[in-house]
């Protein structure tokens, strides 16, 4: 799959997530919007772009416009990474706390 095809696939993913969230399809201009997706692919890679699009629909942004994603995918990516690190830290903390509590008994 070349980059243009990947960009089109990301647009389809965005369309699918939007439909699931709002029950209707977004208005897309696939010819124009593919450039935004290409920018994302070149910046953070295709697999990460897929994750970020899915994560975008979990954020508090209302209506989840495509333009906001194009302008802020780097910030979303940064936060998503922090969130993943936090998830790992919480698991580690859980394990440590369990040991400390067990040691008290």
């Amino acid at each position: 799959m070349n980059d243009t095809q990947k960009a089109q696939a990301l647009l389809s993913l965005y369309e699918k997530c939007f439909l699931e969230r709002y029950g209707r399809k977004p208005i897309l201009n696939r010819y124009r919007d593919k450039w935004g997706m290409l920018d994302m692919i070149h910046s953070i890679g295709y697999p990460r772009s897929q994750e970020i699009i899915e994560y975008y629909f979990k954020t508090g942004k209302s209506n989840h416009p495509l333009s906001y994603l194009f302008n802020n995918f780097d910030n979303i990516d940064r936060f998503y990474e922090q969130s993943e690190i936090d998830r790992m830290k919480r698991l580690e903390l859980l394990k440590k706390t369990k040991e400390v509590v067990a040691g008290e008994h």
């Binding site: 994560y55 979990k58 954020t59 508090g60 942004k61 906001y68 802020n72 910030n75 979303i76 936060f79 922090q82 969130s83 936090d86 998830r87 919480r90 698991l91 903390l93 859980l94 394990k95 440590k96 706390t97 369990k98 400390v100 509590v101 008290e104």
Partner: protein
């Protein structure tokens, strides 16, 4: 009239020991030191200020003094008298020394003595690290307090994982911040902590600006019953009154007070008003539910400034009353983050204020469509961070700790 007797009388009348405990008051009592020590011992043991008649019975030469002002007023007078006497002594000794000693040595000596008096002259407390006697007396008092309270100087939260990782407990002066997304169990967990404190003999006070006092009481009864009642039944008034009455007689009579205070959503509440309630009820633990619904004492217009001020003012409430204060705060929803995980400190708009003011901050997060509540320590000044899951039946008020999420 003896000022020391007036201070002791005012403390017993106004029941505000906290005002005095936070000062370097011990040294200021000279003629009534034994009575003051007895009052402190009583307070440490029973966590309440005795009636003045108890002190009169115990010390035959002590006579209560009629007081009309606040305790702070008499403390200020006692402090002024104490400083006057100390300064007079120092000046007389200096005058005498001038006849035989060198001026430079006398100045040096005076500087040392004036510095020592400095700690009494204002409310900023100083501690000299090399003052071993002061440290020993502090640790002795702290040890006694820990023994009286079952091994910790503060109030245990009732959640084993937190209590093990935060060994001081919720001690006087501590600001504990609970953060979470809206509707994810913050108020519930704080009510649970309040119930656990009450079960141990402490007097909690919940300032609930989110729920009516009756709604909060429903929740408290459900938690106190721990499986006996269903919150929905309370909300519908469909409880068996005989069962409720006999449970109430058994569980609530002759127990410490448990105050819920609310504005019913009508007026603005500030930390200064909370101070008024503290003076009225003298609670051992105050829970402010929740941060965003309070106004700061300055009535600031800017949201960020207001929230920062409230954080600092809650901390001051905790310090000045020598009690722990729990500040419940909602994490700030934004455009680039989700609400599927416990919020991090950075997800609270005034996170810097929390980082400065809070002694303990932890996130509460009920996972969507489950009874699992995750608690994660985000800041701990007196212990280590922790994480634990609570299996919480919110309807019946039954909570069990677990380290498995499913």
């Amino acid at each position: 009239m003896s000022t020391e007797a007036a201070v002791i009388s005012a403390v017993c009348k106004n029941k505000d020991m906290g005002t005095l405990l936070q000062l370097n008051a011990d040294d200021m009592f000279v003629s009534h030191r034994d009575i003051w020590d007895s009052l402190k011992a009583y307070y440490s043991k029973y966590r309440s200020v005795p009636d003045i008649s108890i002190l009169e019975d115990r010390f035959s030469d002590f006579m209560a003094v009629p007081t009309t002002e606040t305790t702070s007023f008499y403390i200020d007078r006692m402090r002024d008298e104490f400083l006057q006497n100390k300064l007079r002594d120092m000046l007389v000794r200096t005058g005498t020394s001038l006849k035989s000693d060198s001026p430079s040595r006398i100045i040096e000596q005076m500087q040392v003595e004036v510095n020592k008096l400095g700690k009494y002259a204002h409310n900023v407390r100083d501690v000299d690290v090399v003052d071993l006697a002061d440290a020993e007396s502090y640790y002795e008092a702290l040890r006694q307090q820990s023994i009286d309270r079952g091994g910790t100087p503060g109030i245990p939260t009732g959640v084993k994982a937190i209590d093990v990782c935060y060994p001081t407990g919720m001690a006087g002066g501590h600001l504990i911040v609970i953060i979470g997304w809206p509707g994810r169990g913050k108020s519930f967990i704080s009510a649970y902590i309040a119930c656990k404190a009450w079960e141990q003999g402490y007097r909690p006070m919940i300032v609930s600006l989110e729920m009516s006092p009756e709604d909060m009481r429903n929740r408290i009864y459900t938690l106190m019953g721990s499986g006996l009642f269903n919150m929905t039944d309370f909300q519908r008034g469909m409880i068996n009154m005989d069962d409720f009455h006999s449970w109430g007689k058994r569980s609530l009579e002759n127990r410490p007070s448990f105050i819920i205070t609310s504005n019913d959503g009508v007026s603005d509440i500030t930390p200064a008003m909370v101070q008024g309630k503290i003076e009225q009820y003298r609670p051992d633990l105050v829970i402010c539910d929740y941060h965003q619904l309070f106004n700061d004492n300055k009535n600031s217009r800017s949201e960020v400034e207001r929230n920062k001020n409230i954080s600092r003012e809650f901390k001051q409430l905790a310090m000045s009353n020598n009690i722990p204060v729990i500040d419940i705060t909602a994490a700030t929803m934004d455009d680039i983050s989700d609400q599927d995980n416990p919020p991090m400190l950075s997800q609270v708009a005034w996170s810097k204020a929390i980082e400065y003011d809070a002694d303990l901050a932890f996130a509460v997060h009920r996972h969507t469509d489950t009874d699992i509540i995750e608690l994660v320590g985000r800041k701990s000044r007196h212990g280590t961070l922790f994480a634990v899951f609570l299996n919480a039946d919110l309807g019946r008020g039954v909570i069990t700790e677990t380290f498995e999420s499913n």
